[in-house]
C-alpha cells in the first residue's frame, strides 16, 4: 500500500488512505525523507484523518520521521488525528512528543507558514499556537 505524496508549493502532503502495515510505514518514512531533499521542500504534512487506529510502531516511526525531516531543514506536522485515536494514544501514553499536531489540513498549512516566516523562533514553551 503506497501512500500518495503530493506537492503543494513548498510543502509535501502525504495522505494516508487506510491502515498501514509496519513496512508500509517504513516505506513512507523513506519516501518522504528522499522527496524532501529532491523537492527542496520547507514542510511536510502527514494526514492521518483516515486512520481510526494508531499503534506504538506508528507513533514511533512518525516521531522519528519528524526528527529526520527537521535535520533536513524542513518542518513536519501531523493533521487529522481522530478523537477516538487521540483518546487511545493519551491513555497508552504514546504522546508523539516533539511532533507538531494540528486539527486539519488548513491548520497544517497555517502552521507550516508560521514556521517558515519565523524560522528563528523557538516553539512557544506553552504550546503551539
Amino acid at each position: 500500500m503506497e501512500v500518495p505524496i503530493l506537492k503543494q508549493g513548498a510543502y509535501l502532503i502525504a495522505s494516508i488512505q487506510s491502515a498501514l502495515e509496519d513496512d508500509d510505514l517504513v516505506r513512507l518514512r523513506d519516501a518522504l525523507t528522499a522527496q524532501v531533499g529532491r523537492a527542496r521542500s520547507r514542510g511536510v504534512i502527514v494526514d492521518v484523518t483516515a486512520l481510526d487506529v494508531m499503534d506504538s510502531f506508528a507513533t514511533r516511526t512518525l516521531s522519528e520521521l519528524a526528527s529526520i525531516i527537521r535535520l533536513r531543514g524542513a518542518e513536519m506536522v501531523i493533521v487529522g488525528i481522530q478523537p477516538e485515536v487521540a483518546v487511545a494514544l493519551a491513555r497508552l501514553g504514546l504522546n508523539l512528543e516533539g511532533v507538531a499536531t494540528v486539527l486539519d489540513l488548513e491548520e497544517g498549512i497555517a502552521y507550516l507558514n508560521y514556521k517558515a516566516h519565523a524560522p528563528g523562533r523557538e516553539k512557544n514553551p506553552r504550546g503551539q499556537i
Binding site: 478523537p83 487521540a86 483518546v87 494514544l89 491513555r91 504522546n95 506553552r126 503551539q128 499556537i129
Partner: protein, 299 residues
C-alpha cells in the same frame, strides 16, 4: 367461592366442555358483548377517578383498543402482541402524566368487569362457571401482569433517557470567542463522566476548530489520582487535536492533592481563576480587549 380448584393445563381438545372449548365460548361471549362491557368499564374508570388527565372520549377510544387486545390475548394465549401494544400505549400516555397505579388500576377494573359478566352468564350452573373461571383467571392475571410490566419498563426507559440528557447537559462545551472553548465542570467527576467529558470536548474542538480550551474546575469539590490522570489524558488528547488546554479554578485542596499525587504538572497549563484563564487564552489567540475609552477616535 373459597374452594380449592385444580388448575387445568390448557390443551387443545375436542371433548365437550374441554378447556379449549370453554375458552372459545368465553372469547365469543366477550366479543359479542364488547360495547356494553366497554361502557361499563369506562364507567367504573370514571367512578374510580383515574385517568383524569384524559377526556372521556379519549378514554373510551383507548378502552376499545385495550379491550380488543385483551380478548385477543385471552384467545391466543400469547402475550407478544399485547406487550407491543402495552409499550405503545405507555409511550403515549406517560407524557400525559398517567401514573403506574392508574394503569394497573384500570386493567384490574377490566378484569373485574369481565369476571362479573361471566358470573352473570353462568350463574345457573356453578360447575360450568368454575371451569370457565379456570380458563379465564390465569390468562387474565398474565394479561394484567404484562400490561403493568410494559408500562413500568417504558417509564424506566424514559428515566434513563432523562438521566443521559442531564449528564450531557451538565458538561456543556461553550464557544466564547472564535477558536476558544470553555468547559465548566460542576460536581464530582467519576471515570464515566470523565470519559464522556473528554469525548464531548474533542467533538467540540473538531466542530468549532478551537485552538484553546479553558477547563474550569471551580465547581469540582474533590479530586483523586484517577480523576487527575483522566485530566492529564484529556489534556494530552486535546494537544493531539492541535488545541491547548488552560485549567482554571483549582482550589487550594485540589492543588495540594495534585502535587502530593505526583501528577506530571509540566503537561498542565493552569491559571488561578476563570477570568485569568480567559484573558490568557485571548492573549494566546492574539486578541486584545480594550475599554472603549482607550480606543482611538470612536464616535
Amino acid at each position: 367461592m373459597a374452594q380449592l380448584r385444580t388448575r387445568e393445563n390448557l390443551r387443545p381438545g375436542s371433548e365437550p366442555g374441554s378447556p379449549q372449548q370453554l375458552l372459545s365460548a368465553l372469547v365469543d361471549h366477550l366479543r359479542q358483548n364488547r360495547t356494553p362491557l366497554c361502557e361499563e368499564w369506562v364507567q367504573r374508570i370514571t367512578e374510580a377517578r383515574v385517568l383524569t388527565a384524559m377526556t372521556r372520549e379519549e378514554v373510551f377510544a383507548e378502552a376499545i383498543a385495550v379491550y380488543n387486545n385483551y380478548v385477543d390475548a385471552l384467545e391466543s394465549g400469547t402475550m407478544e402482541t399485547l406487550q407491543a401494544y402495552a409499550r405503545n400505549l405507555s409511550e403515549r400516555i406517560i407524557p400525559r402524566g398517567v401514573e403506574t397505579n392508574e394503569v394497573i388500576g384500570i386493567v384490574l377494573l377490566l378484569r373485574d368487569v369481565l369476571a362479573r359478566s361471566l358470573f352473570a352468564k353462568y350463574q345457573a350452573d356453578f360447575t360450568v362457571l368454575n371451569r370457565i373461571l379456570d380458563a379465564y383467571e390465569p390468562a387474565a392475571n398474565r394479561i394484567a401482569n404484562t400490561v403493568a410490566v410494559g408500562f413500568v419498563q417504558e417509564k424506566e426507559r424514559v428515566i434513563r433517557e432523562q438521566q443521559e440528557a442531564i449528564r450531557v447537559l451538565s458538561t456543556p462545551v461553550l464557544q466564547v470567542r472564535e477558536r476558544l472553548l470553555i468547559l465548566p465542570i460542576i460536581g464530582v467527576i467519576d471515570s464515566q463522566r470523565a470519559r464522556q467529558l473528554t469525548e464531548q470536548l474533542l467533538r467540540g474542538i473538531r466542530s468549532n476548530r478551537a485552538k484553546v480550551v479553558v477547563i474550569d474546575i471551580t465547581g469540582v469539590p474533590v479530586m483523586d489520582a484517577t480523576v487527575a490522570n483522566h485530566l492529564v489524558q484529556t489534556v494530552e488528547a486535546t494537544r493531539l487535536l492541535g488545541a491547548m488546554v488552560i485549567i482554571t479554578g483549582l482550589s487550594p485542596e485540589i492543588a495540594q492533592t495534585l502535587v502530593t499525587l505526583g501528577v506530571d504538572l509540566s503537561k498542565m497549563n493552569t491559571v488561578g481563576d476563570l477570568q485569568g484563564g480567559i484573558e490568557e487564552a485571548e492573549r494566546l489567540l492574539g486578541y486584545k480587549v480594550l475599554p472603549v475609552s482607550e480606543l482611538p477616535h470612536t464616535e
